[in-house]
Symmetry: C2
Subunit: 252 residues, 2 copies
């Protein structure tokens, strides 16, 4: 397919490289910053642009992959188009694209960091469209780059995005709070790495309700008090420890 | 060495199996429940006991691996012993073993679940003792089963345990809150697995401060509001979402 990518961030980068690798033609990469457009365009043999007046009108697929809260402004700036116009956002409904006669969503469900490679074949892709034929077309396209493609409504996609905030963004923040806890005690974050890997590894086979360990899951009040006292000089860690401990205690 | 294991839980099981595999002799396994003592004793060729009167007095090493808040009661029930008496708890100081002339700590820093195998060679082990010669002896023993052995004070071990609560126990709870979020929307927890794996994978090479993604790290107030509204009927998820989002926002 002839594809135009709007955006040059992490998702735009990983997705357009995966499509390029499947011999699709990335015609243009748009970014507000021509330098950023150019960085990505060079990787996928595309023309970099930073002005919507230069946007090709005859591409088959447009993929808007910008910050969620920028999508509506990008849409306003775009001309009417005949091709399928999609976005890649979990928590934005299909309706933000209502001005286009052919709209869709192509949501790759993974955490992308620019300098960390991702095996796209293992990334679930959630598809939605305002037209059954285009749903099929987008699902077929997604299957070329991913082994896990499902159709999902805007509501389901929103719920999955919330789940992802817990399972990824908040998890990473827990890693960060752990790192901060170690900073003062002369111990290295390295020590946590086998634990982090094993914690993620266990839920490959078991449900999180089966793999919960730690003082709260044992209702070990002695250790909980000790930890809470030790965190008195770190009010934020203290508050998070308290709330999450109570949340675990409610489930045992 | 001739070793007695006191306890039959996850840590006792994994640790005694690792020592047994290195040709150490597990003489006895104590548990309040003879059935539990027997389960583990059979795996490591030991005598199962459930009464401290039967405890061998001439073992070289005793490893107390029971729930943290039970250690003090176990210690009271034990006779004076000449061998080195150790515990395996992160947040319990060495001083709980003061009644023994030779005391130590052998803290395997990992999350153990009975039915999930662990490669013990990758488990960091933290050693402490009241006697330099025994510190060396315990570190040598630990190095036979683990590639990552360090000496650490009770204070350092306590801080590491708190960090582990964040990086493991609270992380697992985030997985659980994510699973609960999906339950109502007809989507499978399976969808989260690549994301969970990648989130853990990224911090192998990068600091958690570099790998943070998501609405809060982008200060995307539109999505944050949408998520918070969607969670109004789940007060607990709502409260956790709010607190952790604010905690991330403070760091951007």
């Amino acid at each position: 397919m002839d594809i135009v990518i709007i955006g040059s961030g992490n998702v735009a980068t990983h997705l357009s490289q995966a499509l390029f690798a499947q011999k699709h033609v990335i015609k243009q990469v748009y970014s507000r910053s021509l330098a950023n457009a150019n960085d990505l365009a060079q990787k996928v043999g595309a023309e970099p642009i930073n002005n919507f007046k230069e946007l090709l009108s005859d591409a088959e697929l447009y993929i808007i992959s910008v910050k969620d809260d920028a999508i509506q402004y990008v849409v306003k700036s775009m001309p009417d188009l005949k091709g399928i116009v999609t976005h890649t956002a979990g928590s934005i409904g299909l309706e933000v694209l209502d001005k286009f006669s052919n709209s869709g969503v192509f949501y790759p469900f993974q955490t992308f960091t620019k300098h960390s490679d991702v095996d796209f074949s293992q990334v679930p892709v959630l598809i939605e469209s305002n037209n059954n034929a285009h749903t099929t077309l987008l699902m077929d396209l997604a299957r070329q780059i991913s082994e896990h493609v499902i159709e999902a409504s805007s509501k389901q996609r929103g719920d999955l995005h919330i789940a992802a905030v817990f399972a990824c963004n908040f998890v990473n923040h827990m890693y960060r709070l752990a790192e901060e806890t170690l900073n003062d005690s002369g111990l290295s974050f390295e020590l946590l790495k086998p634990l982090i890997a094993e914690t993620a590894n266990k839920v490959k086979q078991l449900s999180p309700s089966q793999t919960q360990t730690g003082p709260a899951s044992r209702n070990d009040q002695q250790i909980i008090s000790k930890h809470i006292n030790a965190l008195l000089d770190k009010p934020e860690h203290h508050e998070v420890y308290q709330l999450l401990t109570n949340s675990i205690l409610k489930r045992i």
